[in-house]
């Protein structure tokens, strides 16, 4: 029976089995409960397995790439993150026709090494917007073709890394009970890290990016609702130098190494407001947000328009205990990523600086619903 339930959830029941199972489910509450228990585990694994991958601990001596954004070292960012978007991705170049792709793919499996190499070099130059044409060959049954397509996709993505970096990041603030007894300069408690916040430091949970999931349709509204729910109560912006100056002038915040960390009046996605808020200074754990007037948000919006470089969403555990915060983070992460994608915003995913897995990152982006074909 267990095997049959498992196959039911995998969608691999034999013909007729599903009808028999349906009949049994109608009259056997214990069986229905067992199916639901299995489905709950499926739901949890869909959340936990990707999270465990993202959260795989980095060696202690090597700060995780995602944390390097805090020190804003451009080189580390260039190798630590993959990014995409309307300003980041290469401008469209004349497209190779589909049959040309097919020819090159075919040549990847050629018996002639020179022909294979030439095809690989050609495919490495594929513009990001055209990479979906290679996508299905990532799983080619021909091991030679498969490995070379992986190499081509990785090379095409790697070529984008010399460009400016944009990051969307989710973080959990430490609960008030922890941050109350902690002072700047002290060692952060286990599971938390102190990060600069203007003149101060705040405690945030590690890792920064918790989980990503498929989110579809109208996510901007969901993100807006989630942010206004108080689950996401902190937003950090890093603008370009011009944006920094505008923000500092307006909000009296402090910049550090070209990055402004402060609560501001709107959650923006390249000029589009997805949530309005205003700064609450002196709140436990940093800057808080609350709904702002249109005028307040508008001022910040116009100051930042076109200058936005980095946005980090912080999720606070203030309204839920620490255990529940995982749920909030997991769900919001997907919502906000998707919202950013919907808004045409640039988003980044963490990559191992030493051995970046570009293909995995590519697949993660595609699962989030990113459409490289739309890249200008």
């Amino acid at each position: 029976m267990n095997d049959r339930l498992e196959r039911a959830l995998d969608g691999t029941l034999e013909e007729g089995e599903d009808a028999r199972l349906a009949q049994e489910l109608k009259g056997d509450p214990a069986l229905a409960r067992e199916l639901l228990d299995r489905a709950r585990d499926e739901a949890l694994l869909r959340e936990l397995v990707p999270a465990a991958r993202v959260a795989a601990p980095a060696p202690k001596s090597e700060p995780s790439p995602r944390w390097r954004i805090l020190s804003m070292t451009a080189a580390a960012l260039a190798f630590g993150l993959i990014f995409y978007g309307i300003l980041v991705a290469p401008r469209a170049t004349p497209a190779a026709p589909q049959d040309e792709f097919a020819r090159q793919i075919e040549k990847l499996g050629s018996a002639d090494p020179a022909e294979r190499e030439a095809a690989l070099e050609t495919l490495k130059k594929t513009p990001i917007a055209k990479l979906p044409a290679l996508e299905r060959h990532l799983d080619s049954p021909d091991a030679e073709v498969r490995s070379r397509v992986h190499e081509a996709v990785a090379a095409a993505l790697r070529s984008a890394l010399a460009r400016p970096v944009v990051k969307v990041e989710l973080r959990a603030l430490a609960p008030g009970t922890l941050s109350k007894g902690w002072k700047k300069g002290q060692k952060a408690p286990d599971g938390y890290e102190a990060v600069p916040m203007g003149e101060d430091e705040i405690l945030v949970a590690t890792p920064a990016v918790i989980a990503r999931e498929q989110v579809k349709a109208d996510s901007v509204k969901l993100a807006e609702a989630a942010v206004s729910s108080g689950a996401a109560t902190q937003v950090q912006f890093a603008a370009t130098g011009e944006g920094d100056t505008a923000l500092e002038k307006m909000l009296g915040g402090s910049g550090q190494n070209g990055i402004v960390r402060m609560g501001v009046g709107a959650v923006l996605a390249d000029g589009r407001v997805i949530a309005r808020c205003r700064v609450l200074k002196g709140r436990e754990g940093g800057w808080g947000l609350m709904p702002a007037t249109k005028e307040e948000a508008g001022r910040v919006e116009s100051a930042l328009k076109g200058t936005l470089k980095t946005v980090a969403f912080a999720v606070t555990a203030e309204r839920a205990d620490a255990a529940k915060a995982d749920d909030v983070r997991a769900a919001l992460s997907g919502m906000l990523d998707r919202a950013a994608i919907d808004a045409g915003m640039r988003v980044s995913l963490p990559l191992d600086a030493k051995a970046p897995d570009f293909v995995a990152a590519w697949r993660a982006l595609r699962r989030l619903g990113w459409r490289p074909e739309a890249v200008r």
Partner: protein, 179 residues
């Protein structure tokens, strides 16, 4: 003041959004059990979430949110059944009613099980972990997992089955050890 009126609406809508986040796993589990396709279930969950946020006025604070959201989910599943080309036997309204009844009994928050599975997952390596990654992080079907690891579909399925069984056993042991 207009801002206050807007805030009141925003608070109610926000409450619904926060409850959706809180009850995501049981809702997704119900949808997975109903449609038996994780990706379709995730899509449906998004539709349910949007429908719930849009109809926040119909939810009475203090009442059973999960039951309310599951009713929205049930209606979405029936719409899905009409549009689905799959065999619809398990999408029968009576089967959904049986699942609904089972779900009412299983409305406990899944926090402890999540913690147990997370710990078990952290201790898992080798082929078992690889197939779980391919299945749940990469979202691959069993056929594609087989291709990725260079095994037959039967072998890949057996590996996946063993990995899930190992996780379930591990989680059960942990839950027993920490009542």
């Amino acid at each position: 003041m207009m801002a206050l009126e807007v805030d009141a609406d925003a608070d109610r809508m926000a409450e619904v959004a926060a409850l959706l986040v809180k009850h995501r796993v049981p809702l997704l589990a119900y949808l997975i059990a109903a449609v038996r396709d994780g990706n379709d279930a995730e899509d449906l969950l998004q539709e349910v979430s949007m429908a719930a946020v849009r109809s926040w006025e119909q939810f009475t604070p203090g009442t059973n949110f999960l039951a309310w959201a599951r009713e929205i989910a049930r209606r979405r599943v029936l719409e899905y059944a009409k549009a689905s080309r799959k065999a619809a036997a398990l999408l029968d309204p009576e089967v959904l009613a049986a699942l609904e009844a089972a779900a009412r009994e299983a409305d406990d928050p899944p926090d402890r099980r999540r913690d147990a599975l997370r710990e078990c997952l952290a201790g898992m390596g080798g082929h078992a972990r690889r197939v779980l990654d391919l299945r749940y992080a990469e979202g691959l079907s069993v056929d594609r997992i087989a291709h990725a690891i260079g095994k037959t579909v039967q072998s890949a399925y057996a590996l996946l089955k063993r990995a899930r069984a190992a996780l379930r056993d591990c989680a059960a042991r942990r839950l027993e050890a920490t009542p």
